[in-house]
């Protein structure tokens, strides 16, 4: 099986499928980071928006990523944009919710101390509010990566016209090549784990150490 996985990793067709999937993920996730954090900041600093989205966010979390696919197809047709939009819808909510919570939960003592030292307005935000919220924001980004990865696969499986890991899975399953199927699944799992452990867990550990948080 490992041999099969290894052979697949040198196969040009496979690599271009994996590359396509990763490209969509990077674009979708980039949009998630930008819009999710941006919206989270706005929501976290606006009381009525925060109350409004507090309830909506719970509903969005409860939604499996695949549910967004038909909506994405409705807007973008059976296209690559629809897959990217699926990633966006599946992961932006959690990013926004964590960012706004992080912003709202900045210890008031820190803000007061900063104010007495002359920090206000944008300086207070950049130098105190945002860094204080970083651990929560990164926590949200890690979850968003996992949610987004799932949403990507859901989108690709349901929109077979796009060249990517989803279509390869469907093809080998239809051809009843179980070993190939499992090799693909292992690769998909490994990519998720590598990013999660190799990047996010490390980042979180670094932040926890610097921010002095337990764990």
């Amino acid at each position: 099986m490992l041999g099969l996985v290894g052979r697949r990793l040198t196969d040009a067709e496979f690599l271009s499928a994996l590359g396509g999937s990763l490209r969509r993920m990077v674009i979708g996730y980039g949009a998630v980071c930008a819009v999710g954090i941006g919206a989270g900041v706005v929501v976290g600093r606006t009381r009525w928006l925060n109350e409004l989205f507090g309830t909506v966010a719970v509903a969005i979390h409860a939604m499996p990523g695949a549910v967004w696919v038909p909506l994405a197809v409705f807007f973008f047709g059976l296209s690559e944009a629809a897959v990217i939009f699926t990633i966006f819808l599946g992961a932006a909510g959690i990013t926004m919710a964590n960012t706004s919570n992080g912003i709202r939960e900045v210890p008031p003592g820190l803000l007061r101390a900063a104010e007495t030292m002359g920090a206000r307005g944008p300086a207070l935000f950049w130098h105190v509010t945002l860094p204080a919220a970083v651990p929560r924001i990164v926590d949200g980004l890690r979850l968003a990566w996992a949610f987004g990865w799932r949403a990507l696969m859901a989108g690709e499986l349901l929109i077979p016209s796009i060249k990517g890991m989803g279509r390869l899975l469907n093809e080998v399953a239809r051809a009843r090549q179980l070993d190939q199927l499992i090799a693909f699944m292992i690769i998909i799992a490994v990519v998720g784990v590598v990013v999660d452990y190799g990047f996010f867990r490390r980042l979180e550990r670094g932040i926890a150490a610097r921010w002095g948080l337990a764990g």
Partner: protein, 278 residues
């Protein structure tokens, strides 16, 4: 007078209900003076600090610092809080530099000032540590250095040593005395602890139960360094405690906590954190 409060009142409204926290508080602090505020829990001591710091504004009356009415926070009045409120993502050095950075001071002179004040609190060795690597007492010393680095006219301290053990607290008293004598800063210091107030202050003001007013002021002329067990100091402590005890009795009665106070406890020890257990 450096700081003057003239008939300052403060009300907080919450869901339509309004509580009067301070009523017509008047007192003044001279330049270079060390004034301690003691009073039962909830009497408005922290509120007084916030008013002078400009974090809150009075409902009536005037707060002036160096002749100018306080209209918001300013670098001439810096607060040291009980929970040191250091920024956990910044090193000790960067924490001390924070206010200077906000004031737009150049990195080179920021570094120089930070180093100078870290030396003053004997923490030069920890300049590159993060706050969570420090003990409670060290954190408070960093907070003091951070406040002093701004070169404020007055240092406002709200129970800065309240969370420390007796031993550490005593060391920090000595340290603070040294800093006060060296820098000549004006200090307004809130505490629950009468012994602490008498060891440190030129003046001890007793704040009454809510609504807070200044009930009594005690001048302490004894030379420094003062020994906690100095008989003269103990006499003053007992007088302050008597005054304070009446206020605590009021709080106890208001809150229906009479059953918690043993009848034999006429005058509690000066080192007890009065009111903090209510």
């Amino acid at each position: 007078m450096l700081v003057e409060l003239e008939r300052v009142s403060k009300r907080f409204s919450h869901n339509g209900a309004s509580t009067e926290v301070l009523r017509e508080v008047s007192f003044s602090v001279e330049e270079g003076e060390f004034v301690c505020l003691v009073g039962p829990s909830g009497c408005g001591k922290s509120t007084l600090i916030s008013l002078i710091a400009g974090l809150e504004s009075p409902s009536a009356g005037r707060v002036t610092v160096a002749g100018r009415e306080v209209r918001g926070p300013g670098p001439d009045r810096v607060v040291v809080f009980q929970e040191s409120a250091l920024f956990p993502w910044l090193t000790v050095r960067k924490n001390v530099e924070f206010g200077l950075k906000m004031a737009g001071i150049s990195p080179a002179s920021r570094q120089r000032r930070a180093a100078e004040y870290l030396r003053l609190v004997h923490l030069s060795r920890f300049a590159d540590a993060y706050p969570h690597q420090l003990s409670g007492g060290m954190k408070q010393r960093v907070a003091i250095a951070r406040a002093l680095a701004m070169d404020p006219k007055i240092l406002l301290m709200d129970e800065p040593f309240g969370a420390l053990d007796a031993q550490t607290r005593r060391l920090l008293h000595e340290e603070l005395m040294g800093i006060w004598q060296k820098t000549g800063k004006t200090i307004l210091f809130v505490t629950h602890n009468v012994r602490e107030a008498t060891v440190l202050g030129d003046t001890v003001l007793v704040v009454s139960a809510r609504p807070g007013t200044i009930k009594k002021g005690f001048k302490i002329k004894l030379p420094r360094p003062r020994r906690e067990s100095d008989p003269h100091l103990i006499v003053i402590q007992q007088r302050i405690l008597l005054s304070l005890q009446e206020e605590i009795a009021k709080v106890v009665k208001d809150e229906g906590l009479e059953h918690l106070i043993p009848k034999t406890a006429a005058v509690a020890g000066a080192d007890r954190d009065l009111g903090s257990s209510l």
